[in-house]
Subunit: 223 residues, 4 copies
């Protein structure tokens, strides 16, 4: 399993971080990861992860996998293929790819059996507590209205971080990550002071003018 605290960089489907550009961001992540000795995980789309996982010393997870077994499922992926093609784990139920609770349950169970890391996303403290019952490896709470924005969850909603951790811990001892609008070391530092064990970040690094500088600054907040 990964070291804690940690940063998950969600590449989403930004032009700056997908297809032919994915290596640019992975180069930076690998560099910062090695220079600073902190844990940084990359959440990639299925094609980029397949193409690049052997070329980097960076843990890679998928942004989504379907909750299906093998069979007549045209256009879908499952966790077995995901693992055979290099994924160490997966994001589940990201705000931009929400799932039914039945499918979340299937994916967390499958991941556990296959020794893959499950990071399930939640949109508020209540949903975080509910998902804790399903025992994923990580719960990543992001208020949807702050995702991609300029104000971080750490500044705009510190009490939401506290409530999420309380809700989760009341059910099960699971590591909590937080995200949405996180931009700098202060945001990360505050999140960790409030009890989070890491952050989920996308535009704050991917769309930064200087992604290397941005990522380094975030890492400062972890130490």
């Amino acid at each position: 399993m990964w070291k804690i605290p940690m940063i998950i960089v969600n590449f989403k489907l930004y032009r700056q971080s997908s297809g032919i550009n994915a290596p640019l961001l992975l180069d930076i992540i690998q560099k910062v990861r090695e220079e600073r000795g902190v844990e940084i995980v990359a959440a990639l789309n299925s094609m980029d992860l397949t193409a690049l996982h052997e070329k980097y010393n960076v843990p890679m997870i998928l942004q989504h996998v379907d909750a299906v077994d093998f069979g007549a499922h045209t256009g879908k992926l499952n966790l077995v293929v995901a693992k055979e093609r290099g994924a160490e784990g997966l994001l589940i139920n990201h705000s931009e790819r929400r799932l039914t609770i039945a499918d979340i349950d299937i994916l967390i169970s499958q991941a556990r059996k296959m020794n893959m890391v499950s990071v399930v996303c939640a949109n508020n403290p209540r949903v975080s507590g509910a998902l804790a019952f399903l025992a994923p490896d990580f719960i990543a709470m992001e208020p949807p209205e702050l995702i991609g924005g300029d104000i971080s969850v750490s500044k705009a909603r510190p009490e939401t971080i506290t409530e999420t951790i309380e809700a989760v811990k009341s059910v099960r001892d699971i590591s909590v990550l937080v995200g949405a609008g996180i931009k700098n070391r202060e945001d990360v530092k505050r999140a960790i002071e409030l009890g989070a064990q890491g952050v989920l970040i996308a535009s704050g690094v991917v769309k930064a003018k200087d992604p290397y500088g941005a990522l380094n600054d975030l890492v400062e907040g972890m130490i």
Copy 2:
């Protein structure tokens, strides 16, 4: 563009044709393709296509791509990344992955601009005629109730093939493929005699005890 008549082998997410087993079927397709000089295209999931497209001399398309541009689309793929990672085209609207007509329109338009091959699936002659208006490269008609079954569309519904071709041609001159339950040379031969320019096949090859024999038999019907 591909030669006509042709066979598209849809690998779906069968255990026999996905992940570590995908090369087994690709070996067979490449062999038959070269021995017989006929066009055979493979429709793969996104991870297998990425991993294998450089290793085979077989045209490869994706089973599904999302109708989105670059942006905050966690867990999705678009056609630009698909092309950068090796896809020559895509299946659109397969019966196991149906899309809104707005998204079908976007994908066909995007594929045309990017010089990728669009194969749009339809479940009956009416829908085939409607989709012809959107000008994809191919229309693949499969009656859903026959997919994966033992009776082929050629035997059970020859009139549906005729009606599909008439519907499509009344709108635009687009090549028509047919599928569902196709198993042997007779099925292929009949489809082509009725005016189809190829077949879409999955379980008939993937789940055959002897996929090489099965594919060779299908090819016989094309010649």
Copy 3:
């Protein structure tokens, strides 16, 4: 069938036009309809239509019906129940409730058999042409980016109206309605001059300070 030209007022789920407020808008529609002798159709949610259809002399259609027969379909409605509960027809594939082309085909076919009016929505001229092949009673084209906005399709995209009518007529002789941002008599007049046989309107009437005045003004453009 309804008189042409016509106005369809889509009540959507606005507070001003739903539940206890639906009668306020229906009173206005009934009044204008009788005073001016023009055709105005109301598209209601399923509960309001059921409660109110016997109390008004206004044709009422549903905003959505599921493409299913009778059976184990918890939480769904079909056209048989819709008709038994008072619906004269239905909107299909509205931009806020998009459907697969397979389901659009089913709903149009079912409506025809049951002698109910089908109004299928399209987001551009290409999709309008494709849907014409399925032979609905009306095609209502609305550019999604103008829906609910301040600039009407008639002013911002007159060429889109012309192209839609050409696309539809090249396939089949079906009445075309247009919508999105329509606010006043000029918008309606221009749409009809360009060949449309009516308009689809929502916020322009529902959210107007004076819905009676707004609807009367629209009617002016029809005469």
Copy 4:
């Protein structure tokens, strides 16, 4: 609130219980409810509930409501309209109409504020425990593979009932209903002995040759 133990009859969209036939089943439910003095709740589609709620002395809930506020939501219903049109509560996340966990959370919260009864469905003990954290009024657990079948959850999976109740109670004290395949008094009796506070039933009553006899038999198991 309703008396306990109780039976919820899910009318689904069966021909025998929908549209013009809905009153036949409601007559029976009302009769048994009054004769036996037990709680029986009817889960109807939106149109039948609207048309019939004032004509019967039977608590009625909807089979599904959308997790939206008022606004531009063509083809959707929300809980405010549902209440204004007669619904006392709603089923949430039935196996035939699964929802994202974000939407389940919204609907349970809305129902609580509006003093409506929330019955959230779960497909196994784990999901039941997770949903308990969201504090609905009832959790109804149904193994999907037994729904509509001939073997009841009470006979085929008694341990699943026990595990569900344990999972729920470990989180919060919420009443648990069970369903799937329930046919007779033995099935109901066993479920209640195992700790359930009622059953969810559909085909066992709706499709019975003698629905009055079938419902009476189920009631025997409650007493």
